[in-house]
Symmetry: C2
């Protein structure tokens, strides 16, 4: 397979982009869907933000000046750059806070827009924080969480449902929802829809406005390569911006924060989603990652991502390795990952890590391998498949000891 | 005054710490109460976090490993370092999210603990985001905001009040509340108390537990020198940790986040305040700032801060400059700042900035000068007073044009 892998790498139009990332020596990194690799331009961008904008510019750097392009505008600027990756208009997206905090704002806003309805519908096994943030509003007595399995989601949509919260690409299996069909079904009963794009953005094309989506959130540290705990993003369809009311009414979302008024008046646009003072160092690193992904182009990334995962499956078959696939077999129906079932998935994951192949274990029995197309080579894929086949053949994974937290992020 | 200033600098036990900060050439920075200066150790700490922990360690850096001491523990580790600066126990403080987001969590938690009461009491003119976050809960129908002037705060405490939210050192005037007396009065009517320590922490001693405070929040980017938009901190008195329930129930606050359960169970300790994935780059920079302030010592910082502001007033008098002081005249009753009234405060502020003296204008007529004791010299103070006197004497401030946002952060 190595020969064929090298041929594919030689023909790969994205091959040159690997050099733009700091991929560690001796590591095959199949976890870019958890924390993306460091773009090589990030340290210099951060150095400049820290030494020049903060160190020399100090308070003056909030505004555009000789020291930089202005911290006040970073959230909307980075949001506008994310917008074309997800089929949104620039003024419909903002980079701010965390995915969880953004979920809270938008779930609460949707409940306010559908007063009289309290049900927020999702599926069991959705990424936990999506479910937990609904519970947070339940704690406040403002929401009722309803969970229905994905096969029954459309049937569970009734006139009580204020909002449907789903993740486009499932974090564990990679399975995709049909965003357009589900959104339409929800709208037919008068429900709003919030899509979590954490496992999609930067890996496959999303077209929020073509699907008439109402809200979306997504993560900055996975395929956008924004760094650990990077700011997240939030999308609100233009038609909702005027009536939007969310409860995290911090001063950075005020129409005139420096009037220091006692009373809150939200900004007219997407800026109203900013709660407190925004994390400038995190936004600086995120902007580099977003610029790089935009430069590569999400269509090309998607094509390569599909080719990588298909090649991995082919290589496994070649090695005679059999492992039940939990992800959809057709690459058109999954995100940029493959998940496999094994009752000893944890030990197998640890054995792979010992060989330099970093994937994820997902409790209790899933081995999850992510294929970040911006920096992975087909050669990496061939090698990873060989390692997995050898691990399955041999006894080394039986010796791995269980440690709850290692490799489980 | 320069001669006396140099004598004071020569005798200043903190003089050597100025070298630990990157204070720009030609700038007298009287705005460390808005954005603190860059510690010289920060760029290297960030470089290591980015290149080593993120770049090489990747996902492995969430746990303590060869790459670093573990991102998962950063919030509690930095919180524990902030604790002694504010009279708290290490396990009562966590660094996370923003001040605004932390206000929302704790105001909501207090309302839950005092069910049957809906009033959240504060004062008009409190820092806007404190007032706005109460309004956010009002938007949800869960709170009623009541404002009473500080002279009438104690009278306004009645049996309807669930929570009193006040800022220890006022952002505009620097006036201090008597935390112990006010907290006791609130407790007498069964109300809880939340102190905003944004303009206190790192500049003057605070003793939350001696005052029997219930909750507190504070800012990481002012006197703690954590950088623009640094993570904030939150304090919950140990006696409340067990019954605490806050609505921003993200996966980082879960008792077992990697069990990926559908249902939320909050962590037992202060970790339950973490909402989403935490900003690691911001926490890295904050930790450097906190370590440095802890090394200098908050008692010594307070003594120097009082001496600096007294010396500034003395220098102004020496120059025959008269400008009405809005801050309390006795340094025991104010934070580390002096605010003056002038109907042309904006223009004066701009004229000072043109001379390299960076202070703040606070709408509509306040000139606010902060005295961050970790890196200011008495010589800076003498020079700043001379510049202010010259600006007041001359005509240059009359020529400054109004620009709403410049210098107003």
């Amino acid at each position: 397979m190595i020969g064929k892998a090298r041929e594919l790498d030689a023909a790969d139009p994205l091959a040159g982009f690997r050099e733009r990332f700091a991929v560690p020596e001796g590591v095959i990194y199949l976890d870019g869907n958890s924390l993306g690799c460091l773009p090589k331009a990030t340290p210099e961008a951060l150095r400049r933000a820290v030494e020049r904008e903060w160190g020399e510019g100090l308070i003056r750097s909030w505004n555009a000046s000789e020291f930089g392009s202005g911290w006040f505008e970073m959230g909307t600027r980075v949001g506008a750059k994310i917008a074309p990756l997800i089929g949104a208009q620039p003024h419909e997206v903002i980079a701010c806070d965390s995915t969880s905090v953004n979920l809270f704002k938008l779930i609460a806003a949707a409940l306010q827009m559908r007063s009289g309805r309290q049900v927020v519908l999702s599926e069991p096994g959705n990424f936990p924080t999506d479910l937990y943030m609904i519970e947070g509003l339940e704690r406040q007595g403002l929401a009722k969480r309803r969970l229905a399995p994905r096969s029954g989601i459309i049937d569970a949509l009734d006139e009580d449902v204020a909002l449907l919260v789903l993740t486009h690409a499932h974090y564990k299996t990679g399975e995709l929802f049909d965003m357009a069909a589900i959104t339409e079904a929800a709208h037919e009963v008068g429900a709003l829809v919030l899509w979590d794009l954490s496992h999609s953005t930067g890996a496959l094309p999303v077209d929020l406005n073509a699907c008439h989506a109402d809200f979306a959130v997504g993560c900055g540290y996975k395929y956008l390569n924004g760094g650990p705990g990077a700011p997240a993003f939030a999308f609100v369809a233009q038609r909702h911006l005027d009536e939007l009311k969310q409860p995290l009414t911090g001063w950075f979302g005020h129409a005139a924060p420096f009037a220091f008024s006692d009373d809150y008046t939200g900004a007219a646009g997407i800026e109203q989603l900013q709660c407190g003072t925004q994390p400038i160092l995190g936004l600086t690193a995120l902007e580099v990652g977003v610029d790089l992904i935009a430069e590569i182009g999400v269509e090309r990334l998607h094509q390569k991502s599909q080719a990588l995962s298909e090649f991995f499956l082919e290589a496994l078959r070649e090695h005679g390795a059999t492992l039940p696939l939990v992800s959809p077999p057709d690459s058109a129906n999954r995100g940029s990952q493959l998940s496999f079932y094994h009752e000893n998935a944890y030990a197998i994951c640890q054995a792979l890590i010992a060989r330099g192949v970093i994937g994820d274990f997902r409790d209790p029995d899933i081995l999850r391998l992510g294929f970040a197309p911006a920096y992975l080579r087909f050669e990496d894929i061939a090698e990873a498949a060989r390692h997995l086949a050898e691990v399955l053949d041999g006894e080394e994974w039986r010796r791995a000891e269980f440690n709850e937290r290692s490799a489980v992020t």
